[in-house]
């Protein structure tokens, strides 16, 4: 069990999202940085899809009511255990009565706190992810508030004992505050004016402060269709880049709608989605085109890397 003492900016329960209900318009949700969530779970011996806490920029204060093994992956929001800075991307034993707090965000904007056993909230439509707009899933369908108490699932003896090797960690992805983001061309890419297509692939965009789990709004050169037209709504995905009539692109994120009526200039490749999720308002980014084939190749390479880390983690855990 853990108790939230201070809520932080936005702390929600997330897993890898709600699949299978998009045909009824049910938003997928899930971790904004699925890579960090998966790693956080693996480090404490959970299933990759177990529910963890997603923490945004200004972290909460979490009080542990019992002994637990935790891990913190994603952006470095300066996590501290009883006011002493602790490392990310590793398993950390915490004792009953200890408090986890966060300081200044150093890199990135989101991190995941996984607890061995997983956050125990009811699954709604097959997922424990919170979708606050429909008050769905997670902890009472909302972001955590001061005083909330979260139950933790049963951890195995191996999970409980595996945290002694505290010096060992997995590498962090190279998060950046001015990344080059790889994209594949969207279905309406060719409908944009020649200048807009050129600007999109060469100019720098910055993250607008009106960005959240639903979408990242970008400022930069205005993008426009060669000829104005109303689109027929169709499905969108995590990473679809829509351009509304005002010309400012929006990257659709974890809490995106299932379909949209604005033209899509591109889709962010899956392996680069964590880089977007870790951007803060004011951060800058550029786009680079790759083929779908290459995007899928990158994803396979990443899975290979994750599988290697999985084996290494398992080996390290059994060593202790």
């Amino acid at each position: 069990m853990l108790t939230i003492r201070k809520s932080g900016m936005q702390t929600t329960v997330q897993d890898l999202g709600r699949t299978g209900f998009q045909q009824y318009g049910v938003v997928a949700s899930g971790a904004m940085d699925p890579y960090a969530l998966r790693m956080a779970n693996l480090l404490v011996g959970n299933e990759e899809n177990a529910a963890a806490l997603e923490i945004t920029l200004m972290g909460p204060s979490i009080h542990f009511v019992e002994d637990h093994v935790i891990s913190i992956c994603g952006g470095n929001l300066t996590p501290q255990l009883d006011s002493k800075v602790v490392g990310c991307w590793r398993a950390i034993p915490v004792a009953k009565g200890q408090a986890l707090t966060f300081g200044k965000p150093r890199t990135g904007s989101r991190c995941y706190v996984a607890v061995a056993g997983g956050i125990d909230v009811p699954a709604v439509m097959g997922s424990r992810s919170t979708y606050t707009r429909a008050e769905l899933g997670g902890y009472q369908g909302r972001a955590l508030e001061s005083g909330d108490q979260l139950a933790i699932g049963e951890a195995s003896a191996v999970q409980k004992s595996a945290a002694q090797n505290g010096s060992w960690f997995v590498p962090s992805p190279s998060y950046s505050s001015n990344p080059v983001i790889r994209i594949t061309k969207g279905r309406q890419f060719e409908l944009f004016s020649e200048q807009s297509r050129k600007h999109f692939l060469s100019e720098t965009f910055s993250v607008n402060s009106q960005s959240d789990r639903m979408g990242y709004r970008l400022d930069g050169p205005r993008l426009a269709l060669a000829e104005a037209q109303e689109m027929t709504s169709e499905a969108v995905v995590f990473g679809s880049i829509q351009v509304p009539v005002d010309g400012n692109p929006i990257i659709l994120m974890a809490d995106r709608q299932t379909a949209g009526g604005y033209p899509k200039i591109a889709e962010v490749v899956t392996v680069d989605l964590p880089l977007i999720s870790q951007l803060k308002p004011g951060d800058r980014l550029r786009f680079k085109e790759v083929s779908v084939e290459e995007a899928q190749h990158l994803l396979k390479l990443q899975e290979k890397k994750i599988n290697r880390l999985k084996r290494a983690i398992k080996y390290k855990r059994e060593e202790t």
Binding site: T19, R133, E230, T232, S233, A235, P244, E267, V269, T270
Partner: protein, 232 residues
């Protein structure tokens, strides 16, 4: 049948069933949906039917884009044999204008009509549910008269009250939950469209026929209270 396929990022593919919104395209989309439901390939995560397209989300670790395209083309040969079940008719009560429909006036002015005429046109026809999407239980409807068409707002509203009824282009729809959106709002219904506790969490389904019935603010109040009692 000949469909065109295009990628939607590295984990989804769009099957373009038709180029225009019409009954024929819709029937084919319903048939393909039923077929995919009954014959889901192992690599398929889910499918999302829309007006003229069906998007299939797949696992790129199991299959690449080119092979998805080939396999779908072969699978869809079988879909044309399927007859979708007959449509249901659902009535949606709506309180038009005032606080419930702040853009009714704009839609009227844009089309050179009175607000009464807009309401008469909106309630005077039946609509087909083409797809559920954008938000949980949100129906995209076909069949609206072009006489009350209105462009989307230049920039989407940050928050729209749940159950608002809106118009965007030649489309009309109802927002089941509070969400940002660019539609022109003409009214509000007390009926809940998103039912998260039900096995099928949407009141409406693709293929349904719906009609709007005008109600007064008092009727709205009574029906809303009844819905609250039924669902809590």
């Amino acid at each position: 049948m000949d469909y065109s396929f295009s990628p939607l990022g590295d984990q989804a593919i769009v099957i373009e069933v038709g180029t225009a919104i019409n009954e024929h395209t819709q029937k084919e989309i319903l048939a393909i949906s039923s077929f995919l439901e009954a014959n889901s390939p192992q690599w398929m995560t889910e499918y999302i039917p829309a007006f003229t397209t069906i998007s299939v989300v797949y696992n790129p670790l199991l299959i690449n884009f080119e092979d998805v395209k080939k396999e779908l083309a072969a699978l869809l040969e079988g879909a044309s044999q399927i007859t979708p079940s007959p449509p249901r008719t659902v009535e949606i009560p709506v309180c038009y204008g005032g606080d419930h429909g702040p853009d009714l006036e704009f839609v009227a002015q844009h089309n050179g009509l009175s607000t009464e005429e807009v309401i008469a046109i909106h309630t005077g026809t039946s609509y087909t549910v083409h797809m559920i999407g954008f938000a949980p239980g949100f129906p995209y409807l076909g069949g609206m008269s072009e006489k009350i068409a209105a462009p989307r707002r230049q920039s989407p509203r940050v928050s729209i009250p749940e159950r608002s009824v809106g118009i965007a282009g030649n489309q009309t729809g109802v927002y089941p939950i509070s969400t940002p959106g660019g539609w022109q709002l003409i009214g509000r219904t007390p009926t809940r469209l998103f039912l998260p506790k039900k096995e099928i969490p949407s009141l409406l389904r693709a293929g349904d026929t719906i009609v709007f019935r005008r109600i007064t603010a008092e009727e709205y109040q009574t029906l809303e209270e009844k819905e609250n009692a039924d669902h809590t």
